[in-house]
Amino acid sequence: MSLKLEHVQYTYSPSTAYEIHALKDVNLEIPDGQFIGLIGHTGSGKSTLVQHLNGLVKATSGHIYFNGEDIYADGYDMRKLRSKVGLVFQYPEHQLFEMDVLSDICFGPKNQGLSKEEAEVRAREAMRMVGLSEEYEKQSPFELSGGQKRRVAIAGVLAMEPEILILDEPTAGLDPRGRDEILDQISRLHKERGITIVLVSHSMEDVAKYVERIIVMNQGEVLHDGAPREVFRHYKELESVGLAAPQVTYILHTLKEKGFGVDEDATTIEEARDTILRVFRDKVKKHD
C-alpha cells in the first residue's frame, strides 16, 4: 500500500502569458505508515502537491498510483481515493457548520453512504482519537476554543477512516500548549493506528521533533527528501530558499566550529542536550 508519484507536472494557465509551472517533474513514494513533514516557503508548490495526493487537482502530466492503481485511469473511483486520503486544510475550523459536534463529525461518513448509526459509531471513535470526551458531543462547535474546534475538524476527516492523513499547518494560530497537544495527538494516531501522516508545517522545530522524513519543496521541485538530520545538514541552502533549520542546529554547528566534538546533526532539544552533555561531561556538577 502506498502512494506513488511519477513525473508529476502541474501547470497553471498552460500556453498563456500567465503560465506557471507549480510542479515540475515530481517523483515521490509515500509508503505505508510513515510520518512525513512537508516544508517549503509560500508558493513553493507544497499545497499544490498536497491537492494532487487526493485527486483534488489533476496533474497536467505524469502519473499517480494509489496502492498500485493509476488514479487517472478511466473508471477509477476518485471518491474512494478521497476517503482513503484525508486532507485537513488550513484553519479547518472555518469549515465547521453543524449544530453540534457529533453531527459535524458525522457529515463525512454519512456522505460516504453510511447509515446514521454507523456514522455515529465512527464519529465517536474519531472523537476518542483526537482526545475529545463524550461531553462535547452535543455542544455547538462554535463555542469551543480554537484548539478544540480544530480537533473537531480533524475528527471529521478521521471519521472517514483514511489510510493517509494530510494536515496543512494544523497548528497555525494555536498557543504553544495547544500546538503540542495537537501534534502529540497526531503522533499517537501514527504510532497506535499506523496511519500514514503528511504534516505540512512552517515550524522547523515541530518537524524536527515529530517526523521521520522531510520533503523540502522549492519552486515546484523536490529539493531534499530524507531524515531530519540529513535534511537540516543543508541549513544554509534551506535559508537561501526561505526556510531555516531548528535553532538547535545552529547552536550545534557553531559549537562544532569552535572545536567542540558535538554531533552537529542532532535536531531535537533532547538530542542536542545529550550530545552537549557528553562533551561537557567533566563540567557537570555532581549532586550529592
Binding site: 509560500t42 508558493g43 494560530g173 504553544p176 526556510l243 535553532q247 547552536i251 557553531t254 567542540f260 533532547e270
Partner: protein, 287 residues
C-alpha cells in the same frame, strides 16, 4: 534624560460579555478582561503573551477603541477611549494590524491600499502620496508600489498592511499575531520591519504573538492568563521562569529551553539565556 511620556494606560480595566441560550435567557457572564492595570510609555516595544482565550486580543482591541471597557478606564495618548466623539483620534494614535493580511488589504494596487487610511482621514492628496511613499519605504516595499497585492507573498502582504497603518502616522501600532500565517521568511521580514519602526521611527509597538522567539527583542513582556496580567518583566526575567510559563500554556525560545535542560542536568549556566549566541558563549565560558 527626558522622562518618557505615557502612551497607554489601563486602570482596573474590565471587559465582560453575556452569553445567551437559544431562548434568549442569559446563561453566563464572561469576564474576558478582568481588572487589568498597566502602563506603556511612548517608544516602548511591548510584547503580550497568553494562550488562546487568555484575553490578550480582547485587551488589544481596547487600544484602538474597537472595544470599550465595561468597567475601568483605558487612556490612549491621554484620551479616554470611552469618549465616543474622540474615537477617530484614538484610532489615529493607535493603529492595528491583524493576523490575516488578506482580510486587511482592500486596494487593487499596493500604493492605493496604503493611501486608503490617510485619504479617509482627509489628508490632502499631495501629502497622501508623500505618506504612501515614506510608509512603503519604512516597510521596505517601495519597489512593489505598482503591484497587485494578491500577487505578493504573505510576509509582503503583511508589510503592506503595516504600511497602511504607518501612513496614518500613528504613535503606536498594535499587532495581533501578525506572523501566525506566515512562513519562516515572512515571519522574519515582518518582525524586522516592526523592530525598525520601533527603533528608527520611534513608534510604540505592542506585539501579540505565540512565537516566543519574536518576544526576545521587546523592552517589556506582559503575560496574560484568564483575563488577568500574571507576569510582567523584561524578556530575560520572563523567560527565566520556564515552568511558570509552561503552566500558562506558553513556551520559551528553543535556545532558552535547551539551556534550561542543560542546567537541570548539572551544567553551570546562567538563567534566562535568550538567544543561541548567548548559549554558545555561556558554554564556551565553562571551558
Amino acid at each position: 534624560m527626558d522622562k518618557k511620556e505615557t502612551m497607554i494606560k489601563a486602570k482596573d480595566l474590565v471587559y465582560e460579555y453575556r452569553k445567551y441560550d437559544e431562548e434568549g435567557r442569559e446563561r453566563e457572564l464572561i469576564k474576558a478582561v478582568n481588572g487589568v492595570n498597566f502602563q506603556i510609555e511612548k517608544g516602548d516595544f511591548v510584547a503580550i503573551l497568553g494562550h488562546n482565550g487568555s484575553g490578550k486580543s480582547t485587551l488589544a482591541k481596547h487600544i484602538n477603541a474597537l472595544l470599550v471597557p465595561s468597567a475601568g478606564t483605558l487612556w490612549v495618548d491621554g484620551i479616554d477611549t470611552k469618549e465616543e466623539e474622540r474615537v477617530w483620534d484614538v484610532r489615529q494614535s493607535a493603529g492595528m494590524v491583524f493576523q490575516n493580511p488578506d482580510n486587511q488589504i482592500i486596494g487593487t494596487i499596493v500604493e492605493e491600499d496604503v493611501g486608503f487610511g490617510p485619504e479617509n482621514m482627509g489628508v490632502p492628496t499631495k501629502e497622501i502620496w508623500e505618506r504612501v511613499e515614506e510608509s512603503l519605504k519604512a516597510v521596505n516595499m517601495l519597489k512593489y508600489r505598482h503591484h497587485s497585492p494578491n500577487k505578493l507573498s504573505g510576509g509582503q502582504k503583511q508589510r503592506v498592511a503595516i504600511a497602511g497603518v504607518v501612513a496614518m502616522h500613528p504613535e503606536c501600532i498594535v499587532l495581533d499575531e501578525p506572523t501566525a500565517m506566515l512562513d519562516p521568511n515572512g515571519r522574519k521580514e515582518v518582525i524586522r520591519t516592526v523592530r525598525a519602526l520601533n527603533q528608527v521611527e520611534d513608534i510604540t509597538v505592542i506585539l501579540i504573538t505565540h512565537y516566543m522567539e519574536e518576544v526576545i527583542y521587546a523592552d517589556k513582556v506582559i503575560v496574560m492568563d484568564d483575563g488577568k496580567i500574571v507576569m510582567t518583566g523584561t524578556p530575560r526575567e520572563i523567560f527565566s521562569q520556564v515552568e511558570t510559563l509552561k503552566s500558562y500554556r506558553l513556551d520559551v525560545p528553543q535556545a532558552t529551553q535547551l539551556a534550561w535542560e542543560l542546567k537541570k542536568a548539572g551544567l553551570d549556566l546562567p538563567d534566562g539565556i535568550l538567544t543561541r549566541e548567548e548559549l554558545v558563549e555561556a558554554l564556551c565560558h565553562l571551558n
